[in-house]
Subunit: 108 residues, 2 copies
DNA sequence: CTCTTAAATCAATTATACTTGATCTTATCA
DNA sequence: TGATAAGATCAAGTATAATTGATTTAAGAG
């Protein structure tokens, strides 16, 4: 029989797991670079992203999926193109204003 | 000869590396639990932390070091005891107010 | 239907990170 | 000085994550 935790503890555990996933997604400089580019460029398709970030397409897809699964970016498919953009609402919920600035162009 | 990047790019790269390290430190539910306990209890020594977090001492030391190296917690040694506490200033610089609440007791 | 292009997925490799138990270091106290 | 207790570190094993190149899927265009 499993030990039952008080509600407050199970809620906390669930929060920790949720944020673990989000922080894992953020814990990679290449993904931070992708986020920075998406914030500067707005919605961008993968084929345009490849030359900008300078990584092979399969690698980029891999990192985009991690950000997408963590709800940090949003995907919109148009025909054979996939457009990705920052999920600003979510990012603002997680990061400080100071840090959100990292993902905004200097002149904004 | 190395390609020279514009200053703005090298600065961004440096930022990405800095935050990669901090997010990596945050990207683990056990470390989030440790942070939560430290925030609730305030400065706490390792020997008191062991039974609370329920992990072997060497494992706890390992995770505390990762948080310490990322400047997310602060260490103070008193004799043979090591007291750790949250570096609230740093945490507030990184995380949203909403998220900082995760690390505060419900009644504060 | 066939060809092309965009993008996702797969399998195999490589690289990091975490866990474990033992050992080492240092401070305190008898 | 010798014993003890706190906590850091180490080495070996295990588990995850990232990289790579090839393959697959699906949407046009002709």
């Amino acid at each position: 029989m499993l030990k039952e935790l008080p509600l407050i503890e199970t809620q906390l555990e669930a929060s920790f797991e949720k944020y673990e996933k989000k922080f894992k997604a953020l814990a990679d400089k290449k993904r931070l670079q992708i986020m920075n580019i998406l914030t500067e460029q707005g919605s961008t398709c993968v084929c345009d992203l490849v030359p900008i970030v300078g990584m092979p397409q399969s690698k980029l897809s891999y990192h985009l999926k991690i950000l997408l699964d963590a709800d940090i970016i949003i995907k919109e498919t148009k025909g054979t193109w996939s457009y990705y953009e920052i999920n600003m609402k979510e990012v603002n919920h997680i990061l400080s204003e100071e840090l959100c600035c990292l993902f905004k162009p200097a002149n904004s």
